[in-house]
Amino acid sequence: MYPLINLIGLTAGMTCFLITMLFVSREIKHDNWNPNKKDIHIFLAHMESRTTYPACPAILIKHFAKYENAVLDYMLMRHHGFNLIANDKETVYGHGVKVTPNFFSFFPFPMKYGDPTTALTDTTQLVISTMIADSLFGQQNPIGKKVILSNQKEHVISGVFNRHDSPSHIKYDILIPMVEPADTNWGNFNYRAYLHIAKETDPVQLAACLKQHHVSVGSAVMEKTMERFAELFSFSFELRPLEEVYLYCNENRNFNVVLILSILSIIILCISAINFINLSIANASLRAKEVAVRKTLGGSKRAIIVQFLLEVSIICLIALCIALSLTELILPHFVKLWETRLSVWEIFEQLPIVMTMLILLLLVAGFLPAIYLSNFKPMEVLKGKFVRSKRGHLLQKGNILFQFTLSSVFIISALVIRAQLNYMYTKDTGFTKDQLMMIPVTDLEQVESKRNKYKQFFKEKDYITETSSIRWAPGTGLGHSSISHTHYGEKKLDSDIHFVDQHFFPILDIPIKYGRNFVLADTLYDECYSDVIVNQTLVDKFDMKDPVGQTIELWGGTRIIVGVVPDFYKHGFEHKIQPTVFAISNKEAAVIFLKLTGGDIANKVKEIKAFWTQEIEIGVPFYHRFMEEDYAKLFERHERLHIMILALSIIMIVLSLLGLVAIAIHTIRQRYQEIAIRKAIGASDYELLHTLLKEFVIISLIALFLSFPIAYYFCSWWLGGFAYHIQMPLVPYLIASITVLSLVLFIAWFQARKALHIDIVRFLKFE
């Protein structure tokens, strides 16, 4: 029984530790392999009221680099979206990016095929990752093979790179050569730039110089006064070294995750070790007689310690083996959860850590009980009296106190996170998402030329109630939108700009609060009408009295507000709703919206797919999405945290229960004489239970009491990450209290019950 409990606890702790160690070491490895991780810097633009974007005008970097010798080299990159890539047999998808030819000198990923110096020099070339290469060409060498990218252009594969063993914040699978960035507008922040700066260059100063350069040259080129230009582009610039990009500059807050996970896994490992010690000592007291006899028979202290260490090492080794196999079992799920790549074999890369951990564990978990055991006074033990030390008692109590405090914190946190998730799932987002099918447009030319044809088709099908073609879909990664300064009289705001058509609001069930919707004939193409519709936040921020009919300035032109829509949560609940301007356009649609009615969606999708692939985007693979599913993806990251915390709380509870079992057995056994005395005096079972359970109840109450402020602090911090969040709920605290109390009571009661049936006479005879 004891060795089994011991094994379970130790295995759980080790598994936890191994998995998180693998994960953390993978996270830390991001870009760390890059030889120039300290010198390569990413360019970041901070917007006034907003988050940070890794974006800048290409022309700024090109122009600037000519004047400054602080920059050794620069590399530009432009996001190219989700691409289809096809040869004559297969079609696959991948995230694509346009890069300048020197990409591989900045990110020297290992090449499976091809020469990194020449692979990106011509715009007809294409470099793909091993993942794409495997699914398109299998085991063949794809160099020189032709592929079609996004149904438009033929490329020749010039290289295959492997990014899986060299984790990086660059997560693209298709590299499209961009010999000369085309955009020369000083105001278009749509390139990502990496600067390789000289060792002695101060990145802070360099960023300031870049800012100054942008204003002085940009204003001249764009024929504006410096003041006006600075006001238009009031971003501040920053350069961050590559080694910090993944962990700190990412909005997923990777560093926080790494930190929290490492701390928790170390705590869990420590706790399982402490429990191990406790259980061993509890076990040791049971075996005290054996030891005492051996001692009186002349067994030396050393022999006893050696024997004990041997037993502990065997248990540790077995636990490690089980933990390794468990890790291999659990890892795939974990990998899926975090969308990362890990293999149990990577543990061998971490052999020093694993070994140190094991040896430490052995030393602590083996030596302490061994010494405790070998110090038994044989005569006392033979007479049946154990060493009862007050200090040891206190240590044990402190230990369960700590464990149950943690358990309670975990339970509360998991429940609060769940509550916020439920809130986000059920809260009215202000627009209707159900049965809204989205077809991302791949081949714009074909789609635009066949506009009437598909409009007709949609009209004929009575299960399609509404359609809309837009450049941006709320709550999803589809399409694109921009952020611009908007002026109203003297006032100025950064607002989101979205191009939508006249069907957009009806299809999403967004009412027009004041004024009217856009008017536009379905057959016409147009954009940049002077009509705009704004959201309530913009009206409030500008403090407009009577918004309809007022004019605002946008992109140097005057726009008339024709309508106002209520606010809706287009990006989930983390960020505050921003002032938004909707402009009309049905050109260059990125997404086609279809509102479906009735059941049997699968068949309807099939029909639409047949039509779309045969008549509209011919030869283009069809991939559709539903807005509801895409919107739910906004919460994935939080779901992940919830799952992690839930898993940890379960492990934590199991561990602390194991610890409690050990301590309960130990402490209650130590009280057998007292119980016998009380029974002799006439204590009833109920009174005895009361006596025995009292201290456990007190400990769990203190644990709960301590856990509340910690959990409250953590949960408030986490909730603070949401612009829209629930009030701190009280129910999780209640549930945690009930759970902890009832579990503790149950375990203690279970052990105490045995004590009720002891042989009174036997324990009264104790000396």
Partner: protein, 233 residues
């Protein structure tokens, strides 16, 4: 008060049978002070434990206040113990974690005596037994004699009909032992029924009746002269 007939107690452990009590017959009337003597291992403690309902027996009958005790459940036995029997042990058996006061108070708590009454009762006893100044101390901080006086106080506090003492002076020097014996004699004078196991002839001298046990059976029984003298008066 106590009527034991043909009572046998056999210990069985790993094939060896030990007959601790063999067809034992024994009666005690209210107000008696009985001393049980005999060589080590003859079954004295076993007898006392059975009388005190701390242990069970294998054969025979045991009546306590005319009530049969053979097949009582543990709960009833506990009730009888706490209401009618007080124990004094050779090794005192005080609870180390409780103070002197709390140790003495404990049987009253189990008997559901009110707080006020408890305090006054315990304080009275502490005064009578001259350990009042020690009431906040823990047992480990007392001398053996003081500890045994606390144990006596604990046995008396519920005013039980029967007091069972197993070698109460066994761990005490003669002076302390004598004090405890005086206490028991006082109790007897006040009307308590006492059954005491002892190895000391001197202690047995305080009793009204002495029985000699050997191999689980009564060997001899005699009235104490001293008691006869008291009756003569």
């Amino acid at each position: 008060m106590i009527d034991i007939q043909n009572l046998s107690k056999i210990y069985r452990s790993t094939g060896i049978e030990t007959i601790a009590l063999n067809q034992f017959n024994f009666q005690v009337r209210v107000g008696e002070f009985v001393a049980i003597m005999g060589p080590s291992g003859c079954g004295k403690s076993t007898l006392l434990h059975i009388i005190g309902l701390l242990d069970t027996f294998d054969k025979g009958d045991y009546y306590f206040n005319e009530q049969q005790m053979n097949d009582l459940d543990e709960k009833t036995r506990g009730t009888i113990r706490k209401k009618q029997i007080g124990f004094i042990f050779q090794n005192f058996n005080l609870i180390d974690e409780l103070t002197v006061f709390e140790n003495i108070e404990l049987p009253l708590i189990y008997n559901k005596v009110g707080k006020k009454k408890r305090v006054s009762k315990v304080n009275q006893l502490l005064k009578d037994l001259d350990i009042e100044h020690r009431k906040k101390h823990f047992p480990q901080q007392l001398s053996g004699g003081q500890q045994q006086r606390v144990a006596v106080a604990r046995a008396l506090v519920t005013e039980p009909q029967l007091i069972l003492a197993d070698e109460p002076t066994g761990n005490l020097d003669s002076k302390n032992g004598n004090e405890v014996m005086e206490l028991l004699a006082d109790l007897h004078r006040q009307g308590s029924t006492i059954i005491m196991v002892t190895h000391s002839n001197y202690d047995a001298g305080f009793a009204t009746r002495i029985i000699e046990v050997k191999d689980g059976q009564i060997m001899a029984e005699r009235k104490n002269k001293r008691e006869i003298r008291i009756i003569d008066k």
